[in-house]
Assembly symmetry: C2
Homo-oligomer: 286 residues x 2
Amino acid sequence: MNSLLVHTAWELRKLLAELRRPGVALGLVPTMGALHAGHGRLIEQARGDCGLVVVSIFVNPIQFNRQDDYERYPRTLDADLSFCKARGVDIVFAPSIEEMYPGRQRTFVEVERVSEKLCGKFRPGHFRGVATVVTKLLNMVQPDLAYFGEKDAQQLAVIRRMVRDLNMPVEIVAAPTVREPDGLAMSSRNQHLNAAERQVAPALYQGLRAARDLIRRGATDPEEVRKAALAVIAEQPLLRVEYLEIVDPEEMQPVKTITGPVRVAVAAWLGSTRLIDNVLCEADTA
Amino acid sequence: MNSLLVHTAWELRKLLAELRRPGVALGLVPTMGALHAGHGRLIEQARGDCGLVVVSIFVNPIQFNRQDDYERYPRTLDADLSFCKARGVDIVFAPSIEEMYPGRQRTFVEVERVSEKLCGKFRPGHFRGVATVVTKLLNMVQPDLAYFGEKDAQQLAVIRRMVRDLNMPVEIVAAPTVREPDGLAMSSRNQHLNAAERQVAPALYQGLRAARDLIRRGATDPEEVRKAALAVIAEQPLLRVEYLEIVDPEEMQPVKTITGPVRVAVAAWLGSTRLIDNVLCEADTA
């Protein structure tokens, strides 16, 4: 079956009014396009859970803190449509900027504390932009379930907190990070890497695995774990680490001692490309 | 018919799932209780438009910038229930603070610019608290229509802008201010006035009417209009004006020249009670 492509909230509403059935779950997979296997995983999961699946494709200007990053973000709508069609997506919602922000946007959703550290510190306004556009998309689609990848762990934590705090009538479903065979987390930004950068990029995940191994074996001092992970990454001098932190998975605050599940999260630059990755880990109890 | 009283989001959801019918409009009248004829007007309007009417009663702590104001805000739940019952309200939703804010609230909805002047300037955080709790209530009830009074004109402008900017699937309906025979706008706070204060309180509306008369007759200089209104109010020395401004009705910004419809808005103190009022006006074109 063909995926139906709509560009306006009005067409979307009309289509959903036709296609929604009581008792049939509606799933939304919000994306910025340039779809890859990570998105594929989200769509598959939505397809398994829901009778009706909507994928939104919108490169959201208000979540970019740098204009050049916004401009060079990959846009591949034709390929994205084939990708969605091949995976049985019912509706692709690809609004224009004018459709999403017809006037001056005055209203913003802020998730304090959870947004504060990690990417929030280095990309001011980023999570405000994410929370705001996700709120808009949830209100437009009114899905029963919405799907987000664990690769963007802080984004996931922000959205979960927002949905809970604002009593949004939707269930947030997380899907695990999909990786290349050499461990690099799938990301639309990977296509910006040149050959040399692409070759060293997996060192990020190697650093995270080193951290996870230490934590599994009982390390409780985050500073010790950080140093070990950073040492692995430092073997690739092309990689410039922006942050590497060990945080609690709910509020994304650096922990003083590792006593339960934590997320080890990293951001690093390779040339002019910024990559992020993370792993959830805790001590082996066996 | 008795109004059904529920205290939790869970009971509310269960009840709405039972009572909602396709094609039957659901109306929400959000209130802080201490219901008076102004609320009565909102309920009447909702009752006329909707097959199912929910009134929420919740004194929202996060919209009070002063703890003493929050504490002495009138709470009259039994009288409010009779009031709702007499007007054919289907459901009264009266949640506890713990129900509305079970954890630490981290997520806030901010409406910039519209929230900035007038009450926004003198009650820092007030409209952030209003926008946040209204978002929560709209998500809990999921009404087709929601009703707000014009007495709180800036609140109305903030909510309208929020709903538009965040694509919330609800229609906002405004109902006109209801006044005592002597012109005083109905307010839950009027019951705090002592006899002397109550007697001079209508001077606020008299000032607004003086402004409206000037504007109707073609005055275009807001400063001239302000002075005339303030002179009327100043005849009652008990009234201490906090602000009196002539603003555009959408973004609530003071206008430089009166060229179209404007709102004249005033806030004033009578002893320890703060009152607000406003009128919408424009030049007679006849």
